[in-house]
Each structure stands twice: as C-alpha cells, then as structure tokens.
C-alpha cells in the first residue's frame, strides 16, 4: 500500500489514515482531494515500476517519435476509459447531472487501478487486453498479477455499492455517522436537520475499489507462489 511510505504527521483521533501534511484533511470529509492524491500516486508508482522493470522489452523499435505516439495513445486510452467508466456508472444509476465531478473522479480512480497497469504492461492494444481477460489467456506472471488486481478492483467496486441503499438508522450505523459527520443521503440530512452535509456518494465505491486493488496486490504474489507448479506459459 503506498500509504505506508508516507509519514504520519498528526493523526486525528478516530480517523485511521494520516493526513499528508494537509490542513483539515481526512479521507471521508475531503474525499475528492484524497481521490486525486491517490490516483496520482498510484499512476506514478506504476510508471516508475514500468520504467525500472520493463516487463515487456520485446519492442525493437525505439525511436523517439514511436515512443511519443505510444505515450499519446496511452493518454487517449486512459481518458477514454475514464469516460467509459463514467458512462457505466451513470447506467448503473449514478445521477446524470448532479455530482458529475464526484462520479468522474470515481471513474478516474477506477481507471487508475485498472487501465493504467494494463497500459503499462500491454500497451494500447485492445486485442491483447481481451486476451488477458479471457480464460487461459495469460502468458506471464506479470499478466497474471495484472489480471488478478484488475478483477479484484472491479469486484471491490461492485461490492462497494452495496452499502448505498442502507438507511443508516441502526445504532451502530448512527454511531458511524456521528463519528465521521456523514449524511448518507438527502433523506437522512433532512431528518437530522443538518444544514451542511458532505456528499457521500462515491465514498463506499471508491473505498471498495481501493480495498479491492490492495487485496489484488496482496493476493497475486501469493497466488502465483502457490500455483507456481501449474503455471506453464506458452512463450512465443
């Protein structure tokens, strides 16, 4: 987890994540800032890993123009995937007009967890992506771990949507609400008579995505280690 690298400057009581030297920062209350930081950080780590390790050094042509077009292509793919996820969230029922920024940042972070590693490893090549994500399509341990982290991010996001319909009326739920000063919906806000409510919409999903990604990072080396006998990749 990238967070372990950052020093805990001053932890606010009750909030379990250090606050990155920022004033009034906490994951739940200033969630959008957290999303930006997190996605930038994960992208940077991914790029760094890519530059250091170079998992597929097979490409022979390495002229500058080729690299630049490839990079630009990657950027376009990344943006497209953000928009694609945004559309899917809206299809899943996210509000169309309100909270666009929240939904889009959620799409960005999910793209960071899924598309960026794919771009780093496979390059802008849809065919290869489809191959990796179909049964028996993996050709290296890198692709294997990519598959696991991506799928677990998706599953985490999917599961993260489940708390949304809860009405937060039970005592333990109310305790959480009070602790983090959250209002889960407009309905709860009006009932509690709270004037200012931080928006809660993508929090459970983004947390789900993050936990899924982290779980993928943990699981994939273990899985590869345990199945190392069965893994026989067909090399080209």
């Amino acid at each position: 987890m990238p967070l372990s690298a950052s020093p805990a400057a001053h932890t606010r009581p009750g909030i379990f994540i250090p606050s990155f030297f920022l004033e009034n920062f906490s994951i739940l209350e200033t969630h959008l800032t957290w999303l930006c930081i997190c996605s930038v950080f994960v992208t940077a780590v991914n790029l760094l890993l890519y530059l250091v390790v170079k998992p597929n050094a097979s490409s022979k042509r390495s002229s500058l123009s080729y690299k630049v077009t490839r990079f630009l292509k990657c950027c376009i793919y990344f943006l497209m995937s953000c928009f694609f996820f945004h559309v899917i969230f809206v299809l899943y029922g996210a509000p169309l007009i309100e909270l666009v920024l929240e939904t889009f940042l959620f799409a960005v972070i999910l793209s960071t967890f899924t598309t960026v590693p794919c771009l780093c490893l496979l390059g802008p090549n849809i065919k290869a992506w489809l191959r990796v994500f179909s049964r028996n399509g993996v050709t290296s341990i890198w692709e294997n771990s990519l598959q696991i982290t991506t799928i677990s991010s998706f599953i985490g996001t999917w599961l993260g949507a489940f708390p949304i319909p809860l009405d937060w009326e039970r005592p333990w739920q109310m305790a959480i609400e009070r602790k983090y000063k959250m209002c889960t919906s407009l309905y709860v806000c009006t009932r509690h008579g709270a004037s200012h409510c931080p928006q809660v919409w993508p929090i459970s999903c983004t947390l789900g995505a993050t936990f899924g990604y982290v779980a993928g990072l943990v699981i994939s080396p273990l899985w590869i280690y345990w199945n190392r006998k069965q893994l026989t990749y067909k090399n080209h």
């Binding site: 809206v90 029922g93 489809l130 179909s134 028996n136 809860l166 067909k234």
Partner: protein
C-alpha cells in the same frame, strides 16, 4: 412411487401454499377485543370509588358538549396544519391553534395507514389488524362497540357526508347521509363539493347532535401528484374556509344556547413523500388532531406545542365528551386537556371510567393481568381516589383536598398510559406454534425440491419419490407418534390462544402425518444422494461440465438477493438490488458476446460464423459451451482479420450493440419512476409527465408508445388478432382521452370527463377475444398431440392479449415501461439468447430477473401504498369485487406476468422449431 416433474412440482406448490397460509395465520396477530358487544350493553357504568362513606354518583356524567362536528380530512398530515404549509394556506386554523380556544395534538396512527382501519381506530379506539387492509376495498359493517353505535343508542341524531366507507361501516346509523366514492382518484374537486354543498343547509338546522364530514380531496391530490404539489395549497385553503364556516356557525349558535359545542379537525392517516400511504414512515403515521371548543379556556400568551398522542385516544375522548360509555375494546386513554376545565371531582370520575374500561379489557385479553404494572397502578389510584372522595364528602380543608386531587390525577394518568401501552403491545403477539408448524412444512418441501432438482431436470423428467419404502415406514410411524404427542402437550399447556390447536384433531393429525411423510421423503432422498455420490466418485470418467462466468453470476446474484432481504433497508430499496443485478447481467452478457465475437473471429472464421447462423436457421450441430470455452486457447490467437460480408456485419453490429441498448433502456426506465423510501421524493420523469402543464407531451408519448407496442407485438399474431390489437390500442387511447388523462388532437376544449366505461369495455372485448383465440389454439394442440406449432401460436396470442390488457390498465406515463419491456424482450431474443445459445435454465432466470426489475420500473415498491387501486375500476361502473381484485392484481404484477408469459411462449417456440435445440437444453 414415480412422479412426473410437473406433478411433483404441483404437489410441492400445494404443500408450500398450505405451509405459508398456516404461517401467516400465526404471524398476523388476533386483535385485542372485548367480549361484550354492543347488543347486550346493559351493564351499568362503574360507580365512583369510595372508602367508607358512600358516594351515590353511579350514573354516567352528563355530556360536556351539546353538538359535535367531526371534520375528517383524508391524508391530513401534521405538517399541513402545524408546519409552514399550515401557516401559509390555513390562516384561520393557525390562528385557532395558536391563540384560540383549542387543543392541538399530533395523533400518531398505527399500521396499516389505510382509510378503513383508521376510521375503525378513530371510532372504536381499537387497533385493527392487517387483515383489515384486504377488506378495505369492500368494508363490511362494523360490529364492534364504537362511539357511533353508542351515540345512536343514546338517541343522538347523526348526520354524515363524505367517504362511502362510513356508510358501509355504520349502516342505518345516520339519520341523513351522502356518500362519495373514493375510487376515482383523479377527481379531487367534485368529491369535496359533494360534501360541502350540504353544509349551509345543515348548519342552519338544529336537529342534529353529531355531524361527520369526511373530505377525500386532499388524499386524492396526494395520490396523483404528491405532497409538494401546488394543488395541496389550494385544497388546504378550501378546507380552512370550510372550517371557519363551521366554527363561526357553531359559535353563533352557542351564543343563544350557552352550552359549548365541539369541533374536531383530524386526519385519518398521513401522506408519504411520494403521496401514498399504507406504510410506516413518520410522514404517514403523524396526523393532525385539533379539538376546538369555547369550553377550552386559554390564557393569552399561552403558547403550546402540539403534544404527541395516539389516534385511538380520540374514541375515549369523544365518548366522554358526548356522555357515552367508552367503547369496550378501546385501548386509548382520554385526552386529558379536554376535561381540564371541569371540577376536580368530574375530572377524576372521567379518568376512573377510562381506567376501569382499560383494565377490564386487559383482564379479558391477558391471562396474567394481575402482574401487569398498569393494573397495579390502577388499583392504587382507585384506592387513593376513594380516600379523596371521602375527604371531599367530609368537606375537608381545600388545600389538602387540592393536593391529594392532583396526586390522584397524576396517578391515574400514569396508570392510563401504562395500561394503554401494554394493551397495544398485546396486539403484536405472534402465535408461535402455528408459525413453527408452517415453517417446518415449507422448509421440508424446500429441501425435497432442492434434493430432487438433478433428477427432475434430467432427460426423463421423472423422479422417484421414495414414500413407500419399508425402511422408512417405521421412521414414519415413530415421527407421527412423537409429533402427535408433542401437539397434545403444546396445546394442553398453551396459555394464549393458538390457531393450530383450535383445528379439529383430524386435521391436525393429517398435518402431522404430512410433516412426518415429508421428513421421511427428505431423509431417503438424502440417503440416495449419498449412495449415488459414492458411486459417482468411483467413476472419474464422468465429465464435469464447467460453469461459465454467467452461470456463476446468475447463481450468486439470485442467492445474494435472497440474503439481502435479511436487512430492512434492502427490502425497502429492493428495486436497487434488481437494477444493480440486471445491469451486471447486461455487462456480463456484453463480455461474453465480445469474447465470442472478437476472439473467435480471429481464431477460426468458420467457427465464428455459427454465431450469426443462429438468426437464419438454428445450427443443427449441438454445441456444448464447455467445448467452446476450451477453444479460446491463446495460442490460436493469430493471423489476419476475417472477412464478414455486409449483411452479417449489420447483424453482428446489432449483437455487439444490444447490451448497451438494453442498459440505456433500463437507465431511462429507472428515472421514469422513483420508488422505494430513501429516494422516492426525488423528481422523476413520471411526475413531470403527469403534471397538468405537460399534458400535450404526455399525449404524444402515450400515442407513440401505443404505436410502438403494436409494431412490436404484431409480428407474431395472426391477421385477426392483428386487427383486434390495433383496434384495442386505439380504444386504449380513446379511454385515456375520455377520462381526461390525454388530449385528443382535434378537440382541445372539451372538458367533460366521463368514466370512460364504454371505451374501456370496448378494449376488454378485444382482450377477451384475443385470449379466447389463444386458448382455443392451446386446446386444439392438446387434442392434436403432435402439433407443436399450434401450441406456440396459441401461447403468443395469449401473450399479446395480456400486453393489450396491460396497455389498458397502465397509467399513460407508464406506457413506456410496457414498450421497453417488449423492446428488451425482442432484442434479447433476437440478438442474445438465440446467437449465444443459452440454455433453458439461464433464460428462465434471466426472465425472472427482468420480470422483477420491471415490477419496480412500473413504480411499485414493497409498500402497499404504491398499489394503483384505480386500475381495478377500468371499465367498471360500480365496485365489483372479483373483477376489481383481478384487474388491480394484474396491473400491479404486469411486469413479472408479461415476462413469465414471454418465457413460456419463447421456450415453446424454441422447442417447436424443426431440428430445434431441445438437445442442448438441460
């Protein structure tokens, strides 16, 4: 014993229904009742308690008020009067509440928040059970002891104007009445004008004692356009002026007679944020209750907030106010502020009467009533009360008397509260034993079903039910004996009443025998399965079919949905679960399609083409999916693109696009009707369309929808039913125009709104005609056993008949739901199920999911408030129970029913095709 799977399933369903019925009988509590009915109302009122010196006040106290006017406004939620709306739209009432001689309360209704049980609660003071909801549509006369009957027996003259329910509940009670029907929900002016038109005449006359007015308009507005509609303001203003008229008239009369009158303004239930009622949200439970009388003196500057009381308290208060005995089964306590102005002796007398009535009710319903805290409190206060009477009669010094009086009063009030609470709690007691027996039956059948699935779905479609095997007969008799003994023990030792014990011994024995037989069947099935399992494990050659991702999703989704029902929030928001699941299903289908198309395109062109062949003619070769999956070996990914000719290309694009089209449709439908609890108040397209400003848009949409429905359905019909369908859909539009929902393009200014009975019956005739043709075909196919196509045609005819009926019953803004339902069915059939060759089990579950989702897309929810009762009166002049029930049920469950009907027709047409896919299925 060998059974066909159909017979087996039918038996299981029958036993399941029995079990569920038994469970429900135990689950719905029997209401708290007093045994003394109105008929033998001879017992004298309780005398004043006394210690030593005898008090001779044994008669009922005289009435406090000469005349009582009850103005009941349907759906009057508390904030309509006490909130900002009240200040804005009801100035006179607000003045009375804040400064006038009045007492205002927030009366909390109990479940179910539907009109008839609420009227019963207001007049009897009892808590009607859930069963009364079913009777809400057609209410039989009220036999319980109630204020109205008591008043009539005391010779009071009662006049009633308003909701017809009252006239049915209290036949021959009113000297004069005019009932209005509440079934034409879209009418909210005439129902109230029909009440108000009598008012001037009646107020001038002096020949009545009780006047009851029940205004329905507010509730109708709520049902049609919700509590934030501007119409609510107009209606409240109208109600305020009516209240002012009554109040001034009563005041002017009081000036002559010098005896105070009472005016009661109350609501029967509230209104949820969507405008419905029936559930238990705070908005639905809290109603306004204002008692206005010149007897309630008030010091200037005395500002009170409305106190929270129970709705059942009104019955006791009214009885005391009119000088009547309190209804026997009332669980309410007297609203004490109303008698605060009376002398202390009278106050205590009233409290004592109320407490005696409640404690008597407690004695009748709770076996161990002496241990109840309320009863002890009551006995103590009665003793203190006796002491007070003695002091009073001895004319002791006033300060001691006053202090003791205040103490007795406090004690009584506490006792009343405790008694009332414990009686209300009594209503929520379950009949555990009946519930347990029902649960055991249901669980056994479930286990049997699960165990026999592999056998029942096998190719023979037959299964062995080992009921008569000799090994288990001993177990059966043992079980039977044990259960019977248990039954005897439970029933002889039970304290509270139990439905199952009340059954005859023969019936109970039969149920016990059934339970033990089922248990034996489950046991033997289990044993057999273990034996088979051992046998199978010795046979490693048996190929294990692999499950695709889709199968896993379908299984996990269905199970996850069942698990999610453990949380109340997930029940309230069940639509979210279904929308989420079908979205995920679409994405999974999308994944499957893309993988099949792109990856296989690349590897084997001739293999890929069979994906498209599905449209033209079903490929004769039996394709096993597990083989297909294995073909996605990575090393085959190679070589150039395949050349697809243009026609195939078009269909391929359709296949690729279809999941996205379905997803978009679902998203649109989702924003058509907001339902559930948390987000129900959000603006949605449905409300936008139904508001009167957008009538033109609604008309265009309805017309377009009807045309698209015709286009989508007509493909499968015969010529005659095509014509019938077209005329029927035209009739639907005419019906909607006749009742004023949509506009006719050529007559914009016609205002007369009829019930549209003729138009609706015209459509009904076509529906029946199409259904009849379909049934005829089905019967024919039964006679000529070999012909499958006739059966398919008949099924499709029945399907289109149901579509026409749904088009008639749906509100115009819901017609797009029907359109999208047909559209999605078409797309799924053409571009997903046929090319991807899903098997029958997968298709069945997908139909089930979509059917459930469409139930919610229609705007339904798990609350009874969202049931559209008006659908039951399409084409009916008067209320007829059976057709109305049928039509309402069909309109509510149209989504699932249409999908189920589509499933049957689709499966039948697939099997009937020459060289069809019967082999690949299961």
């Amino acid at each position: 014993m060998r059974l066909g799977s159909g017979t087996f399933a039918a038996c299981c369903v029958v036993i399941e229904v029995l079990g569920v019925a038994l469970f429900l009988r135990g689950f719905f509590p029997t209401p708290v009742r007093s045994s003394s009915r109105t008929e033998h109302q001879a017992e004298p009122p309780a005398p004043e308690p006394s210690a030593g010196a005898s008090s001779n006040w044994t008669k009922l106290p005289p009435p406090l008020f000469r005349k009582v006017v009850i103005m009941l406004i349907d759906g009057l939620r508390d904030d309509f009067v006490f909130g900002s709306k009240g200040v804005k739209f009801m100035p006179y009432t607000t003045y009375l509440v804040e400064k006038g001689a009045s007492h205002s309360f927030v009366a909390e209704a109990k479940l179910p928040t539907v009109t008839m049980p609420r009227i019963k609660a207001l007049m009897t003071g009892s808590l009607p059970g859930f069963i009364d909801v079913v009777r809400n549509l057609n209410s039989p006369a009220l036999l319980e002891d109630n204020v109205i009957t008591q008043a009539k027996a005391a010779g009071k003259r009662i006049i009633f104007y308003g909701d017809e329910t009252w006239v049915k509940l209290f036949p021959r009670h009113f000297v004069e009445y005019d009932g209005t029907t509440s079934f034409f929900v879209s009418d909210y002016t005439e129902v109230d004008d029909n009440v108000t038109r009598h008012l001037d005449k009646v107020l001038k006359r002096g020949d009545w004692d009780v006047l009851i007015l029940h205004y329905l308009g507010l509730d109708h507005i709520g049902h049609v356009s919700g509590p934030s509609s501007p119409l609510i303001g107009h209606k409240l203003r109208e109600m305020d002026s009516i209240l002012m008229k009554i109040h001034t008239s009563l005041l002017s009369e009081e000036r002559e007679t010098l005896v105070p009158n009472l005016l009661v303004l109350c609501g029967d239930h509230g209104m949820s944020e969507t405008g419905g009622h029936g559930a238990s949200s705070v908005e639905e439970l809290n109603t306004a209750l204002i008692l206005i009388s010149s007897a309630f003196e008030r010091k200037p500057g005395d500002i009170r907030r409305p106190k929270h009381v129970q709705q059942t308290d009104l019955a006791a208060t009214l009885a005391i106010g009119l000088g009547l005995p309190i209804p026997g089964s009332s669980v309410g306590s007297l609203l004490f502020p109303t008698v605060e102005g009376r002398p202390v002796r009278e106050q205590l007398r009233f409290l004592h009467l109320n407490a005696v009535q409640l404690s008597k009710l407690l004695q009748e319903n709770v076996p161990s009533y002496t241990k109840e805290p309320g009863f002890e409190q009551f006995k103590m206060s009665e003793r203190l009360h006796g002491n007070w009477i003695r002091l009073y009669l001895e004319e002791n010094n006033s300060e001691v008397l006053f202090n003791l009086g205040a103490k007795v009063r406090r004690q009584y009030l506490d006792a009343l509260r405790t008694l009332s609470l414990s009686l209300s709690r009594q209503v929520a007691q379950y009949d555990i034993y009946s519930m347990l027996v029902g649960t055991v039956m249901v669980l056994e059948v479930l286990a049997l079903l699960l165990l026999s699935i592999p056998q029942a779905l096998s190719s023979e479609a037959e299964l062995e039910v080992p009921l008569w095997s000799p090994v288990f007969s001993l177990l059966f008799y043992l079980m039977f004996l044990v259960l019977s003994a248990l039954h005897v023990i439970v029933c002889t030792s039970a304290e509270s009443s139990c439905y199952f014990c009340g059954l005859s011994w023969l019936t109970a024995g039969g149920v016990m025998a059934l339970i033990s037989a089922l248990l034996c069947a489950v046991g033997s099935a289990l044993a057999k399965m273990f034996a088979d399992g051992k046998f199978l494990s010795k046979n490693p050659a048996h190929p294990k079919a692999r499950w695709s991702e889709l199968d896993v999703l379908i299984l996990l989704g269905t199970m996850g949905h069942v698990l999610s029902l453990g949380a109340s929030s997930f029940i309230e928001e069940e639509h979210q679960t279904w929308y989420f699941l079908i979205n995920t299903l679409c994405l999974a289908l999308c994944h499957e399609i893309y993988r099949n198309c792109f990856l296989r395109d690349d590897c084997e062109p001739q293999q890929c083409s069979h994906v498209e062949e599905g449209f033209v003619s079903p490929a004769p070769a039996l394709q096993d999916r597990s083989i297909r999956c294995n073909m996605l070996e990575p090393h085959r990914v190679s070589k150039g693109p395949t050349s697809l000719d243009t026609l195939r290309g078009y269909e391929k694009w359709m296949v690729l696009a279809s999941p996205w089209v379905i997803l978009t449709c679902c998203r649109l439908l989702r924003s058509l009707n907001q339902t559930g609890v948390q987000w129900a108040h959000r603006p949605d397209l449905g409300h936008w369309l139904t508001s009167s400003d957008h009538k033109a848009e609604l008309s265009v949409l309805a017309a377009l929808s009807l045309i698209v429905i015709f286009a989508l359905v007509q493909r499968r019909c015969s010529l005659t039913s095509k014509v019938a369908m077209a005329l029927g859909l035209l009739g639907v539009y005419c019906y909607r125009a006749a009742i004023g929902n949509v506009l006719f393009p050529w007559q914009r200014d016609s205002k007369d709104i009829s019930k549209g009975v003729i138009e609706a019956r015209f459509v009904h005739v076509f529906v029946l005609g199409i259904l009849f043709t379909g049934t005829k075909d089905l019967l024919k196919s039964q006679v000529i056993a070999a012909d499958f196509t006739i059966k398919t045609v008949g099924l499709w005819e029945i399907y289109s008949g149901l579509v026409l009926l749904a088009a008639l019953l749906f509100r115009p803004h819901n017609l797009p739901v029907l359109v999208f339902s047909l559209f999605i069915q078409t797309i799924m059939t053409k571009f997903i199920w046929k090319p991807l060759r899903h098997d029958a089990a997968e298709i069945t579950i997908m139909h089930y999911w979509f059917g459930q989702a469409f139930f919610y897309f229609q705007g339904n929810s798990n609350s009874i408030a969202t049931v559209d009762v008006s659908a039951g009166f399409v084409g009916l002049d008067t209320y007829m129970e059976v057709p109305a029930m049928f039509l309402t049920a069909f309109a509510t469950f149209a989504g699932p029913v249409l999908w189920a009907s589509h499933l049957v027709s689709f499966l039948s047409s697939e099997t009937s095709l020459p060289g069809g896919r019967t082999g690949t299925w299961l």
